[in-house]
Structure formats: C-alpha cells, structure tokens
C-alpha cells in the first residue's frame, strides 16, 4: 500500500475540539482504505484553568497521556480504516488489548461514524509496526485519548467516499443519500451496500465532500452501555491467548529453572543428562536468565526444570529485604522546602510494600528463530521496542523479525515489558527449535515485575481553618521505564513548565501526580533509589500510593480542623466539576448514615488524565485482621464516555486492586527474592473479600475523553484506608495493612 496525498483537513466541531485537527489520507488499495494520523496535528497544551491559591501542578497542564499524544504527533502514521468488498469494516489497532475493552470501544467509534452495526466491524491488534516509532505503546491510560480523533476522522472520510461513490453511480448529490447498517439508500428506493461501493470509493479520482466527524449529539452507539465484542469467545473457551495458539507446528512447551535470587546467574548444571532422560524431555539449554527445559508437554517441562540441579552465581539484590529497602527509602527522602511556620502541622509517614502485577496469564511467548529470520507471538504493549531488541540480540536485521501482538490475559502495566518474548527468542536460537515459553506462577511472582516499594513523608501546615502548605516527598525503588516510554518523554520533557534536569521517572511522576485540593503552597518531589530489581509501572503508576496516602492525610487534616471528611473536601476541592463527582457518591452512597460498631464509611477523591472520580466504601472491620469492604459507591467524570459499561468495568477493577493492596496483597522481599509464589501467598482480592454491593455512576460530561484505565485505583485506596481507620480508630501507615508471612514459602 502506498499513501495518497492528504485529502482534507478535517475540522472538528469548534466547541468540542477546536485545538485538535486530523488529516486523512486515501490509501491506494483495491478496496477502500482511509488513514489518519495518530496524535493531534494541532495539539497545544490546554492553558491552566482558573487562578488558584495553589499554583497548577505540571500534571494539570500537561499530563502523561498528553505527553504521549504529543510525542506521537510528529510520527504521522497512521491508523487505517478499511471497507472490503463484503462490506466489513476493519481496523488494525496499534495498541494492546489486555482486558480493558479497547477493541470494543474503538469498534463503537467506527460503527457510529460509518453507520454500520458493531458486528460489521473487526478491530484487530496490529503487529509491531516500526514506522509508528513511539506511537505503539499502550500505557498512561492513553489509548482512547490518542485514537479518538484519528479513528473518527478516518471513518468519517471513508463514509464520505462511499456516499460520493453512490452519488456518482446514481447521478445525484451525496446530500440526498442516507445510510443505515452499511446500506446506502438514494432517491427512488435505490440502494447499494458498502461492499458494492468499496472499489469505486477507493478511486483517487472521485470527488469527495468534506467529512466532519459527527457531533456527540448524533451518536447512536457511542455513550450507550455496550457489551464486549470478544465476550462470547471468552465464555466459550474460544479466545486464544498466546499459549492457546497453534501457529508453529512442533513448537515445544518450554519452562525455565530460575535462580534462587533476583538476577542470579547460572554457574553450572550438574545433572543435565539425567534431566534429558526424563519422560517427554526433548532438550535442555542454558540462557542468560536460567536453564530451559523443552518437552512434549508443559507438565513434563515443569517436572524437568524442577529436577535440575544448578549451581548459581549471586544476584543483584541478595542482601536486600523489605526492612533494608525501607531503610534505604527513608534515607533517600528529599527534605521539605517550606520553612517551619508558627502553626500547627499534620505530619505522617507511609510505607507501601512491593506489589506483583500478577496477571492471570503468566508471562509467555512463542518464538520461532531461524538462521535468517524470527517470528514472535506475545501479549505486548511495546512491540516495537521488543522487535528492535530481539533483532539486535539475534543479530538479525529488524525487518527479519516479525512480532505479533496477541490478546493478553491481564497486564496492569506488566506487558510493557517483553522479557518473555526476548527469553523465548534466546531459547529458540540456542536450541535451534521453535518454542512455546511459559513462566510458572511462582517465577512470575518472584522473578517477574512488581510495583516498586515506596516511602512517603507528608506535612501540611494549618492555621485559622486554612491549609497553608502541603508538601509530599516520595522515595521509591527505581521504577523501570526502559520500554521506550522514557524516550518519548525525553522529547517532551523540555516543554514541561518545570525546571531542571528531570529523570524519566520524575517526569512521569510530575505528569501524573497533582493534588486536586487548594492546599496553599503545594510541592511534590520524588527521589528514586536504584535497586536492581524487576520493577515496572503498576496500574496508576505513582498515584495509587502517592494519592492514596494523601487521601488518608486529608481525613486527618479535616479532623484537625474539626471538619467532616466530606465537608472538608467540598470546601477545598479545586473545581465544581470535582465537587459534582464528590456529591454523587455522597448522595448515592448515603454518606453519614449510622453504621454499627466496628464498621465505618470512608471516602476519597482523585483526578488524573483529565478525568476525576470519587469513591465511598463501607468497611466491616469487626475483626481488624479480616476486614471486608461490604459496599462501594463510585462516581466518575471522564469527559465524553465511549462505553459506559466498559468504564464501569475499569472502575470496578481499580476498586478490587485497591482492596487487595490496601488490606493484604504485597510482596515480602527476603534475601533477594520475594517469598510469595502464588495467590495463596500474595493475597490478591477474592470473591469473599469483594463488596456485596457495588454501584458505579458515570457523571454526564462532554469534552474529549479522559483516561479511565488507571483512574479508579487511587481514590479507592484512600476510601478503603479511611474507612478502615474510622472503623478501627487507627491511623493506617503501612500498606498492606495486614501483612504477616502467613504461609510456608516455596523452596527457592
């Protein structure tokens, strides 16, 4: 396919998106294909809102999602909407589907714009497309935000071409034609399907009217609760995750024996011959990360890897445990900048343990490495970096490595990293055989990625019923951002309204974290401690801990000022939009209703990615060691909502994450390795710990879509912790709150 010249400069309705314009292109092809740039051609950061006593924090002006959109803008290419001769509409989305429902949401945008049914649209996941440069990264809650404009522009232009083709065929004006379910109807009852018009619509000589995406008021599907397009495959067992694919004949089930400490090395293998002789074992190869056993079944690969006797070299954090990490974080915490004032202070320190991403589908990949080429399948959120790295590692040109993105069984940030794909490629090369690599659950928790531990020191000064200063210092284990995100942000960091040389991590911190309250002079600073562990962004990156801790302190500041938590928030929130969301949960969740002894309500608020949310929970902590959230009420304003039902899922998921990580789920690092190795030890929320009643309210809003995938966690962390504090009369300071080693760790 080659690109045509830009067709039209598509103007968005002025009120809604005057600052975003999208060029569309006719792509030469036998049937219709219309492309638009991802990223906004004319995007400029919105100016700060009202004048406020707290200066706007960077994230209020330019947030992480904006930065990703801006960084992607110059890369031009391309999202392509196709209409084939059967009338099916297609789009290969350069993003990952890991359960967030983006294929459904994007399909809804296309269906509305083209006047077809959702069942006529196929949204698939694109292979790694290096020409997209930085534009194929699923993170920062930016998918809908970045593709909302271009997808609609391309679909609108495709519709205009189809109508123009019908008008030319019938000798009439396009304006007298109508479309329903992909059938164009003209005067005298003439009709033609999109399929029949597709070839004519692809004619570059066709004269086409200016296409403008429909205004939200014309939407039929967008904004309506819609079920997932892939749900039927999921409930019938037909959905294929990486290891369900039968794409490489003879690819061998493969598992790896890993070192007893993180980043340990293989010195020697004692019993390779004996393991090779085990039933079903086909090959044993050593790679940088451990010793791989290839077998006829995963059961046999697992038995083989467990039977291996290996002498290991030391890892990179052998001396570290939770206590030593906490000490390092405390020592690295930056000082406050506001001088001590003759006023009252509210001070607190918070510790958050490491948390495994622990998606249900463990790390996995298929690799078929040949002498002159390689093909990879994996659930990847940064497939271009994966392709580049694997090519370099194998000594192949990038064009000889094909990377397919498969649908992932959960991610929560985990699949930004392509370690399984890289390891599978190394094993396939070493063994000279195609492999299906699966990490065991134990390895996934111990050697996989995790949210870094963090330490928080917060101080507020209050006087005369006002908050004069609010300072928050975060020290965190280094969060690995070496998946390309860093490069994107480097490009944008220079334009941030903050001084100095920011690290990538600080940039992410400053583009995601800000306080939604008027708290006088407000400062946020992050310092990272380099610990060579496998960390990574975990749903909501820094906000779950940072904003969660702040919401706990907000309750304590309110108490110091003699105010109810809701009254305080009402008075100090920065905007009426925020207050509307707060009021929604106050009303629907019956804030202030009388609660039996040992139980209590808790409330919190969070704004991020141009969206905001409030959460009100009720906690039964009659047994403080086995608390349960019994009821949850959530409200959110995310701008224009594409699929309210999908949004609700994301918010419920964020709540469930918050319940787990606030009460029980964390990792104990002990002598260089997490002790936890399964869900019986890493206590992620189960049904018995989830609320009996959960209600989600989407506050109507227009404007462009904000981010939603990560939004739900921080407010829920605050609400759950605050409810627990009120129910038990304690001040939660260390998370998870109930965190004993209540199990026998698996052998290393």
């Amino acid at each position: 396919m080659s690109l045509g010249t830009p067709e039209h400069d598509i103007a968005e309705p002025a009120r809604e998106h005057s600052r975003r314009r999208f060029l569309t292109f006719l792509v030469a092809a036998p049937t219709l294909a219309v492309a638009a740039r991802i990223g906004a051609d004319g995007l400029a950061p919105a100016s700060a809102q009202a004048a406020v006593p707290s200066l706007p924090a960077p994230a209020e002006i330019l947030d992480l999602g904006d930065a990703l959109i801006l960084a992607a803008a110059p890369t031009a290419n391309l999202i392509v909407v196709t209409v084939d001769e059967t009338g099916r509409v297609g789009l290969a989305l350069p993003r990952a589907e890991v359960g967030q429902g983006i294929t459904t949401a994007v399909g809804m945008l296309i269906a509305d714009e083209l006047d077809v049914g959702l069942d006529q649209v196929d949204v698939t996941l694109a292979d790694a497309r290096p020409e997209l440069v930085f534009n194929q990264l699923t993170g920062g809650s930016n998918t809908i935000r970045s593709v909302y404009g271009p997808v609609r522009a391309a679909a609108a232009q495709a519709r205009a071409r189809l109508l123009a083709a019908a008008a030319a065929r019938w000798g009439t004006a396009p304006s007298v034609l109508s479309v329903s379910a992909g059938v164009v109807t003209g005067p005298g009852g003439r009709s033609a399907t999109y399929g029949e018009l597709s070839a004519a619509a692809a004619d570059p000589g066709l004269s086409v009217v200016l296409a403008t995406p429909k205004p939200p008021s014309a939407a039929t599907l967008v904004g309506t609760p819609t079920n997932r397009v892939d749900a039927r495959r999921m409930v019938t067992g037909q959905m294929e995750y990486t290891l369900d694919l039968d794409v490489v004949p003879g690819a061998l089930p493969t598992m790896v024996r890993r070192p007893p400490t993180i980043n340990g090395t293989v010195r020697s293998v004692q019993n390779e011959a004996a393991v090779r002789a085990m039933p079903g074992v086909v090959d044993v190869v050593t790679v940088a990360t451990g010793v791989a056993v290839l077998a006829e079944t995963f059961g046999q690969a697992l038995a083989g890897k467990e039977a291996l006797e290996v002498t290991w070299g030391p890892g990179t954090v052998d001396g570290e445990s939770n206590a030593t990490i906490q000490q390092k974080l405390r020592a690295a915490t930056l000082p406050f900048v506001v001088p001590p004032l003759l006023t009252t202070t509210v001070d607190a320190e918070f510790d958050f343990a490491m948390v495994s991403h622990a998606p249900m589908e463990t790390n996995s990949a298929i690799a078929d490495v040949r002498r002159d080429r390689a093909e990879i399948w994996s659930g990847l959120k940064s497939p271009i970096v994966a392709q580049q790295t694997i090519a370099a590692e194998l000594g192949l040109p990038q064009s000889a490595v094909t990377v397919h993105v498969t649908q992932g069984g959960g991610s929560f940030g985990r699949r930004l990293f392509f370690d399984a794909a890289l390891e599978a490629a190394r094993i396939s090369k070493a063994a000279g055989k195609p492999v299906k690599l699966m990490w065991s659950r134990i390895d996934d928790m111990r050697h996989g990625r995790a949210r870094a531990a963090s330490f928080h020191r917060i101080r507020a000064t209050v006087a005369a019923g006002q908050v004069l200063t609010f300072e928050h210092r975060v020290a965190s284990g280094e969060t690995d951002t070496k998946h390309g995100l860093g490069e994107i942000l480097t490009a944008v960091a220079a334009s941030l309204p903050v001084g100095g040389n920011l690290s990538f991590a600080q940039t992410i911190f400053l583009t995601t974290v800000h306080s939604p309250y008027q708290l006088g002079a407000t400062t946020h600073l992050l310092n990272e401690v380099p610990l060579q562990m496998h960390t990574g962004s975990w749903r909501s990156v820094y906000s779950a801990n940072t904003r969660g801790a702040e919401e706990v302190l907000i309750d304590e500041i309110a108490a110091k000022l003699g105010k109810d938590p809701v009254t305080f928030r009402r008075e100090f929130l920065k905007s009426d939009r925020f207050r509307a969301v707060l009021e929604k949960v106050v009303t629907e969740g019956q804030w202030g209703r009388s609660m039996p002894r040992g139980t209590a309500q808790g409330i919190a608020f969070h704004a991020e990615y141009k969206s905001c949310t409030a959460c009100l929970v009720e906690v039964d902590a009659t047994d403080p060691r086995a608390p349960r959230v019994t009821r949850a009420t959530i409200a959110a304003d995310v701008g224009r909502v594409i699929n309210p039902r999908g949004l609700e899922s994301q918010l419920i998921g964020g709540l469930t994450d918050a319940i787990g990580t606030t009460f029980r789920a964390g990792l104990h690092i002990d002598a260089g390795l997490p002790l936890e190795g399964s869900y019986s030890q890493f206590h992620y929320t189960r049904q018995a710990e989830s609320p009996l009643r959960t209600s989600v309210f989407v506050v109507p809003s227009d404007g462009e879509p904000g981010g939603a995938g990560e939004l739900g966690v921080p407010a829920a962390v605050g609400a759950v912790a605050n409810a627990y504090a009120r129910a038990t009369g304690t001040k939660p300071r260390s998370f998870p709150i109930n965190f004993p080693v209540d199990f026998d760790p698996f052998p290393r």
């Binding site: 999921m234 069984g409 039902r645 998921g653 989830s690």
Partner: protein, 156 residues
C-alpha cells in the same frame, strides 16, 4: 506410555500419557483443548476448573490416569451438556454475556465452570455460597460474577 480412554465433551478420546501427567497438560498439549487455563498449577487459582462426572475438578492437580473411563467436561463442552443446539449456550454463559462479566477473560472459563458446579449443588445460592468460590479474577470482575450467578440461578 499407557493409553487412557475417557469421555471428553461428549466424545470418546484416548490419550497416550504418563499416568501422573496432570490432566491439564493432556488436555492442552496432547488433545488441543485449550479452554482450561494454567494460572498456578497447584490448585490455588482455579483458572483450570473443569468438570469430572459433572462436579468441579482442577485438572492441574488431577492425574490423567484418574479420569480413565469417566466423563470430563471443559468450558468447550459446557453448552453441549445443556442443549443439543450448537448455537445455544448454557444459561450461566448467557448470564456472563448479559452482565458483560469478562475483562481479560483468562479466568472466566474457570469461573463459569465453578459457577455451574455450584448451581448443580444448590439451585438458589446465597452470598455466602458465592463467596466460597475461590477462583481468582485478577481483573477484579467479582461483582459482575456475583450478579451473573444470581441471574443464572433465577433463570434455571
């Protein structure tokens, strides 16, 4: 290697496997039945939940030899236990669709098989009965799972 013959989703199959090979791998790697998922391999996460003679089992810890001569149903065969019409789903699957339960979907075959097993034991499950389902959903879809089970119970 010994051969084991059993009923799988209404058909007779024979698999050549070591006696102690967990059924999960006989199903996935030898018979190509990939609906049951691996999530832990040690009877903790319940992602692999399937049925043996109609009751829930976890194939990751069930030796293949144990199912010889018996009837194994995986998510792929569930609808067939309800209706002969190949387009019809089991009411629990229908309830899952109606409530749009699945997020990443990886745990859902196991969740559905666990819910069906529960509804076979008790037609009108209480919240406490539903709480006893230990299947992990890392995407956190529990509230919709609860609603879907109640909806399916009402319908069945």
């Amino acid at each position: 290697m010994p051969n084991y013959t059993f009923q799988l989703n209404g058909e007779t199959v024979t698999v050549d496997a070591p006696a102690d090979l967990p059924l999960l791998w006989a199903l996935r790697d030898k018979l190509g039945v990939t609906g049951p998922k691996y999530g832990c391999g040690i009877d903790v996460c319940k992602a692999c939940t399937s049925h043996l003679d109609g009751a829930a089992i976890n194939p990751c810890v069930t030796p293949t030899a144990d199912v010889a001569g018996r009837e194994v149903t995986t998510i792929e065969g569930l609808a067939g236990t309800w209706s002969d019409d190949p387009d019809e789903l089991h009411p629990v699957q229908e309830a899952w669709l109606e409530r749009d339960v699945a997020q990443c979907g990886y745990c859902q075959p196991g969740q559905i098989m666990a819910a069906v097993a529960l509804l076979r034991r008790t037609s009108n499950p209480t919240d406490a009965d539903i709480d006893a389902i230990e299947n992990v959903c890392r995407c956190g879809s529990y509230s919709r799972i609860r609603e879907a089970i109640k909806a399916a119970a009402a319908r069945m």
